[in-house]
């Protein structure tokens, strides 16, 4: 088990097709533990956004760079940690996509959706790793 409490780890190349594998594994785990549809929708969305950010913005689709996906799902919570090999970024510098002047911008909503749909979203200091947690309300 890694220091972030995750027991499953995958290393995938920086391409969107490869990102399907961790998405499907996490989905299967959520279904196995009986997470409600709403939580599955939320986690799916957040994981896809995080993976796309890591591939496109973090690694800039560089085939020489990989994405690390660690996850641990049990009956009470799902933890997902996604790290890229990029230079990182400052999440606070991303403009508020819901501000009137930004509404018609075609990008910049991924992080906001991750924060909304997950219970916890923390970025590493460098900004190239995100740790997300979602609790299974069906169990509480």
């Amino acid at each position: 088990m890694s220091s972030d409490g995750c027991i499953n780890e995958l290393l995938i190349p920086s391409d969107l097709l490869a990102a399907k594998q961790p998405e499907q594994e996490i989905l299967a785990a959520l279904q196995r533990f009986g997470y409600p549809d709403q939580a599955i929708f939320a986690i799916n969305l957040a994981v896809e956004e995080a993976l796309v950010n890591a591939i496109k913005h973090g690694n800039r689709s560089d085939p020489a760079k990989n994405i690390s996906v660690r996850y641990d799902v049990n009956a009470t919570r799902a933890i997902i940690v996604i790290a890229d090999e990029g230079t990182g970024f400052c999440p606070a510098s991303v403009p508020d996509c819901t501000a009137e002047e930004n509404l018609s911008r075609p990008c910049g909503r991924g992080i906001m959706l991750m924060r909304t749909y997950m219970d916890q979203v923390h970025y590493s200091r460098k900004g190239n790793m995100v740790r997300m947690v979602k609790y299974n309300r069906a169990q509480s």
Binding site: L16, L17, A19, K20, Q38, F41, N44, L45, E48, E49, V52, C97, T98, L103, S104, R105, P106, C107, G108, R109, G110, M112, L113, T116
Partner: protein, 122 residues
């Protein structure tokens, strides 16, 4: 309409052009670029028209989809056309509300309501 599309079903009615997605769960990152290109082709071939996109088949949506729809809305508006989104499932509609894009887009609960709106405006 003579054009055929891989990801879309396009039905040109008198008062509006109704667009449906051909498969479920297609609005994911891998296919969104192709879908965006096809939607742009439809809009380009029918300038000034009202396009209604049915979300009845859509169970999944990402920020890339939202970006694609914003670009399409701008393209349609440039020719004085109109884009209406209809039949959006509650879970998907919530994404529009969270991002406040329900303020930007014309959204109708049902296809019937969208066609009525298109009829009133044509």
């Amino acid at each position: 309409m003579a054009d055929t599309y891989q990801h879309l079903r396009v039905n040109d009615l008198t008062r509006a052009v109704v667009i449906e997605f051909a498969e479920r769960k297609i609005l994911e990152e891998l296919s969104i670029v192709e879908i965006g290109e096809e939607l742009s082709q439809v809009a380009g071939s029918l300038p000034g028209r009202t396009l209604i996109i049915s979300f009845a088949n859509v169970d999944h949506l990402s920020s890339a989809t939202l970006g694609m729809l914003i670009k399409l809305r701008e393209q349609v508006a440039r020719t004085n056309g109109q884009l209406i989104l209809a039949d959006i499932k509650p879970q998907i509609l919530e994404v529009f509300k969270i991002t406040k894009l329900n303020r930007l887009f014309e959204i109708c609960d049902t296809m019937g309501a969208a066609l009525d709106k298109a009829g009133r405006q044509s």
